[in-house]
């Protein structure tokens, strides 16, 4: 994944602002512009740049006072900050760098040098970030903690596959599990703990443990109802102070390989998509259940879907319906449906290679998970 290159330029001179924005845009930067410190603070309410490049000499609030405002605000303090100014006085430069600025660049520096400096900095940050994530992932792996399975289940007359991409390559809040009870019954679990990165990832194990336990208890009691399982999980989570403050969605599907019937219950999850090969139609399968832990009575229901050869079911989390265009981020379930449509009669591997999936990876807005079930 290339480093993200969103930059906030702050300068009271509109010409300098335009010139820098033009030069940086050419190098692949997404530029946000602010004509004053106050304007920059407004931009920051809506955007989080990867780096801020600010002038020193500005009326009202100068560059130092602006830097101090950012340092005083915990949400902005850690955004890397560079001064770009014509002020060449050594004392001023030293004072600037001492304000936790990563660089102090003079305006007469050739533009390609400025661009290279910013690029080098972002690449170094990105590499360090990747190394940290890799180290933590290795630690998690050593503890044998996985929130997505390492292997696909083998189910008679079914193909089950999945695609998963964590948010910015951190392990995140999405979790997937395949619980093969017997040759006949296989449970498919897809959950999304509401959060991102490590916090959500940690809780995803708590949820997975509850879910695995509930499934096993129900099996021991010969209760194969997905609704019963969700009720059991919800009841425990609702009363558990450790996880009750963290909400999770869950889609639970039971495949009965003997009858080719699929049973589904959901908790605050996105509707599944069901492709009927015979009529070549795609329809939503929506459950009534609320997010796990939200209400004591989760209003769960259970639906049975009879799958014929070529029929498919798609289970997915919200990362697949979020996208970003020129106007900002949006949520659009219908867009995912329309992007999936051309691939319905094609192998899942082709959809995984599609432009849409590439764009989702490039946007990396949230954890993304998609489970594919086909009756062969």
């Amino acid at each position: 994944m290339p480093p993200s290159k969103k930059i906030l330029l702050v300068d009271d001179n509109p010409l300098v602002l335009e010139m820098m924005a033009k030069a940086l845009s050419k190098e692949g930067f997404k530029c946000l512009k602010a004509i004053s410190a106050n304007a920059a603070m407004l931009v920051l309410k809506q955007h989080t740049p990867d780096v801020i490049l600010s002038d020193y000499h500005m009326p009202d609030i100068d560059g130092f006072a602006f830097r101090q405002l950012l340092i005083d605000e915990p949400a902005y303090r850690d955004i890397p900050f560079m001064f770009l100014t014509s002020e060449a006085d050594n004392q001023v430069m030293l004072a600037g760098v001492n304000m936790e600025a990563i660089d102090y660049i003079l305006k007469d520096t050739p533009v390609p040098v400025i661009v290279t400096k910013i690029n080098n900095f972002l690449t170094a940050v990105h590499e360090q970030h990747q190394r940290s994530v890799q180290e933590l992932s290795r630690a998690a792996s050593a503890l044998n903690l996985h929130s997505v399975p390492k292997a696909l289940p083998v189910v008679k007359d079914f193909e089950v596959d999945f695609w998963h991409k964590p948010f910015q390559d951190y392990p995140g809040g999405d979790f997937i599990d395949f619980i093969k009870v017997s040759e006949r019954y296989t449970f498919i679990v897809l959950g999304d703990v509401m959060g991102k990165k490590w916090g959500a990832w940690f809780f995803s194990f708590g949820y997975l443990s509850y879910i695995r336990a509930a499934v096993r208890i129900c099996i021991a009691e010969e209760d194969f109802s997905t609704k019963s399982i969700l009720q059991k999980i919800n009841n425990v989570i609702f009363h558990d102070p450790v996880v009750s403050d963290v909400l999770s969605s869950l889609s639970l599907v039971l495949i009965d390989a003997d009858t080719a019937m699929v049973t589904y219950s959901g908790a605050g999850d996105l509707p599944l998509l069901h492709y009927d090969c015979n009529s070549k139609s795609l329809s939503k399968v929506q459950s009534s259940g609320m997010l796990l832990g939200l209400m004591q009575d989760g209003s769960f229901d259970e639906q049975t879907i009879n799958l014929n050869a070529g029929d498919k079911l798609f289970m997915f989390t919200d990362g697949l319906i979020d996208y970003e265009d020129a106007d900002g981020k949006k949520t659009d379930y219908a867009l995912f449906e329309s992007e999936l449509s051309p691939y319905l009669s094609r192998p899942f591997a082709e959809f995984k290679q599609s432009e849409f999936i590439s764009s989702i990876i490039a946007a990396h807005i949230d954890d993304c998970s998609l489970i594919y079930i086909e009756k062969t």
């Binding site: 809506q46 955007h47 509401m194 959500a200 939200l294 949006k330 949520t331 659009d332």
Partner: protein
């Protein structure tokens, strides 16, 4: 400051400030909203007038505050959801957890 509170005689309106209500503001939003519950308000209108996008972290914070409000015998209602957000609430059944009004005025007059 993720929300600006606007106090009415028997209610408080919490105006979400960021256009993008996401992970970076989810915790402060929850803390600020829960503080309003602690201050004794029993009817809280969360206004989404400024919001164009919510992520699941923010929804988690909102729902967590709802649980906190319920346990304190307070009610949280929502107003001003744009079409995308309204659709999302319908898809994941959050429209059953919250009363949703088109405007803050409608939410206040429903009290």
């Amino acid at each position: 400051m993720t929300i600006i509170a606007d106090v009415h005689s028997n209610a408080v309106v919490a105006n979400i400030q960021p256009a993008e209500a996401n992970l970076t503001v989810a915790d402060s939003f929850k803390t600020e909203l829960n503080t309003l519950v602690d201050e004794g308000y029993k009817y809280l209108v969360v206004s989404f007038d400024n919001v164009v996008y919510v992520d699941s972290s923010f929804l988690g914070a909102l729902v967590s505050s709802l649980k906190y409000a319920i346990s304190n015998k307070a009610e949280i209602v929502l107003s001003g959801l744009n079409k995308d957000i309204q659709n999302l609430f319908g898809l994941i059944r959050l429209d059953k957890a919250f009363k949703i009004y088109p405007t803050t005025t409608a939410a206040l007059s429903a009290l």
